[in-house]
Symmetry: C6
Subunit: 77 residues, 6 copies
């Protein structure tokens, strides 16, 4: 992977959320580097409520970090 995470700063909360989603996915890639296997697993967990909720939990944890890094975008008008 080339540089994929130059900063935790984002212009908006929404971009921060998108970054959290990416942060959650990178760990999966690092544990399962084979894209073909990941593609095979995707439909499986994308139709499994438990897996969807668990994935949402990982995003929530990363979003907390990204939000803190951006001081909750408080200085935004």
């Amino acid at each position: 992977m080339t540089e994929w995470l130059p900063t935790l700063r984002t212009a908006t909360p929404e971009e921060g959320y998108a970054l959290a989603v990416r942060l959650a996915r990178v760990a999966v890639k690092l544990t399962q580097p084979d894209a073909a296997v990941r593609e095979r697993l995707r439909p499986e967990y994308a139709e499994d409520a438990d897996a969807l909720i668990a994935a949402s939990q990982v995003v929530a944890t990363h979003f907390a970090t990204v939000a803190a890094a951006n001081d909750y975008w408080r200085d935004r008008r």
Copy 2:
């Protein structure tokens, strides 16, 4: 999706909680973009205690973030 998260500020804790619920749901949408599939899964997990508790856990994590972003609504009278 159009802009769905302009800010983490809410007027009240209750609106903050509602925002946490939305934050939890958006990750599910991003992982399973097909609304028809999500509709099919809904009755399944909405009648499964484990899934309901897991979903509540995601909301709790997001609520922590939203509450911090609002400085716990301390300046509210």
Copy 3:
């Protein structure tokens, strides 16, 4: 639901804990609004150790938020 969360402030840690329990339950209600279904699920998870522990985890996460909101009730004598 009428206003159910006017503030995160509580007079005592104990009331803060009770609030955390309520915060955990509201998410379940929002995901499964049908009280009859919830009543049907209750005996099931209330006799399942894994579900009880998972529910306790959600309370722990909310209690962290409520405790921070109250500055850990430090100024209490």
Copy 4:
């Protein structure tokens, strides 16, 4: 229950840990108030590695709160 949580302050980290354990258990009691049922479940989860780890996770979350409430017992000699 009579007053069971007058404060989050403890004299030592060890007492703080003990308090975290209690905080984890109280949520279980509130969800399953019947002591007889809890006694029946106990041997079951106390011999289940997954349940023991999950219970330890709840304690960890509460310990984080109690430790913060005590400013990590930094002023202790």
Copy 5:
């Protein structure tokens, strides 16, 4: 148990991590005080990927607390 947690301060991040591991294990001991049972469970979960990951999660939560208690060992050269 004699005094096992006199302080959350450690000289290095590595010792802090070791402390987090101990903090995770103590809760298991308190829930299952019988060492013979714990020994019996050990090979079981030590060969179960899900249990290993869950145990690692508990360590992560405690490490966050220990790291904060040590101000992230920032003043270390």
Copy 6:
């Protein structure tokens, strides 16, 4: 293990993420020190969506700690 964690400081968020991945793996090694067993388990969980998501959750928790330790790399240009 020789010294493996001299500091939580990293030059970039990306290196911080890599450190979080290592922090997640060390706990697994400490619980299952036998490298042969870990190798045997790896293909199993690397092809299991639930395990991949759970592993990603541990990384997320450690990343929060590492990010805080680095003050979110805010002073980086």
